[in-house]
Amino acid sequence: MSFLSFLDREKSIAEPEYNRWLFPPSALAVHLCIGQVYGISVFNIPMTKLIGINEPVKGVDWTIPEIGWIFSIALAVLGISAAVFGKWVERSGPRKTMFISAVCWATGFLVSAFGIAIHNIWIVYFGYGVIGGIGLGLGYISPVSTLMKWFPDRPGMATGIAIMGFGGGAMIGSPLAVELMNFFKTPSSMGVWETFVAMGLIYFGFMLFGALTARIPAPDWKPAGWTPTLQPRKMMTSANITADVALKTPQFWLLWIVLCMNVTAGIGVLGQASPMIQEMFLFKKFRDMGLDEKEVVKMAAAAGGGFAALLSLFNLVGRFFWSSLSDILGRKTNYMIYLGLGTVLYALIPMTGQIGSIVLFVVLFAIIMSMYGGGFATIPAYLRDMFGTMQVGAIHGRLLTAWSTAAVLGPVLVNYIREYQINNGVPKAEAYNVTMYIMAGLLVVGFIANYLVKEVASKYHHVEETEPQKEMSNSLQMQRA
């Protein structure tokens, strides 16, 4: 379609005077929108009362587990679409990819709004989960790989900016959804489908800004005053490895394990953070203050929500801080810290309950969450160091299947272990201890995998055909034809 040709990769190559700091806002505009997926739980309660309005109608209204699948499908499709379309993303450039991501994300909201209006959850699964999930996958990897091309001197910091945006998406999306639902709520409607329509349109506008302002550097472009070192640092290749070949290297699968273990541990406790602090500390604290039970529950829930919000802030800041630090320390060292220090901190959490120190509990969790975010943000730069920039977006896309796996594994592991213990008579406040030790064990597995990561062997390097070679292969093809 020629009228959409302005989206082509060739049309989005930046002019020489373009300031590279103009690209991070474009990337952030997309990531801040798609990051809303982490705040989808804000719709959980309202969606259980779409028919009953004041109370859920049993057997008619949707249940929380049914609604929970929307998030799981979206994250699973994120990983799959990033893996499947990764090479296309590299070929098409950021503008076209970000535009299509915007179309998918907004369409996902609009289709879901229709599903909510006629009360058909399968339409919501298809809309938000599948169509929106494709928007998530495309929108996640494209800005990240482009940022690494704009900031070859500071790739960790650059990807940290974008992935910090993804972490911040829920922080914007959740309160925005609450405000909109309050605005649209009537005696006969929870205001949910109207909110989906409004959010779809708002996000489309925002992401369109990101797509239209996106530029890629010219092939021979490099930052002013920066010259690539001829002798690259240890664990940093100057060669390129294609996405297909990367799958054949042990490094790819070791990094897959590293990401999967780090995210499984983090995601598992992130969802449990609020009930955990309430059961370990807050109920006792408010009861000791002499409050009646109703007040205790109310106060604990409010404080638990505050704790979850604080963790999301550390998750966000950690993405930028740790990823930027990796430009100095090196990616492998950074992951040694995330996984090594993380193991110690997870193992110390039960001790905070025993000594009754809520401050220490909050501090430990804040550091853990910052490193969880850091793990997400540093992985693209780690991939770039290992496999070069040529198809890093596609390789990143394939690695995100580790995230999809962890998104299922983490919550299931935590919930199952907790239920098992409570059913076996372990007090609620102590039921998290074993979970913490298991999470620490997962990080040990990740630590070993990271330790085993070495430079990719030269036999995997992509070799560019020289002009005579190209001519020869062209003439051979013509002869065969």
């Binding site: 005077e17 103009l22 911040g168 914007i172 309160p175 302002t213 505050g306």
Partner: protein
């Protein structure tokens, strides 16, 4: 007649674009951080 952009004109144009772009993404981000700060205050009260 072709208009040739001078270096300083280009610089101020870039600066203007930078301010606009960062404001567009910065304002909602700061609003979100503020929401978190308000909620967190409850935890330490």
């Amino acid at each position: 007649m072709e208009h040739v952009t001078s270096g300083s004109e280009q610089k101020s144009r870039n600066l203007f674009k930078l301010i606009i772009s960062w404001t567009i993404v910065g304002v909602p981000s700061l609003w979100a951080v503020w929401q978190v700060v308000v909620k967190t205050v409850v935890l330490f009260q």
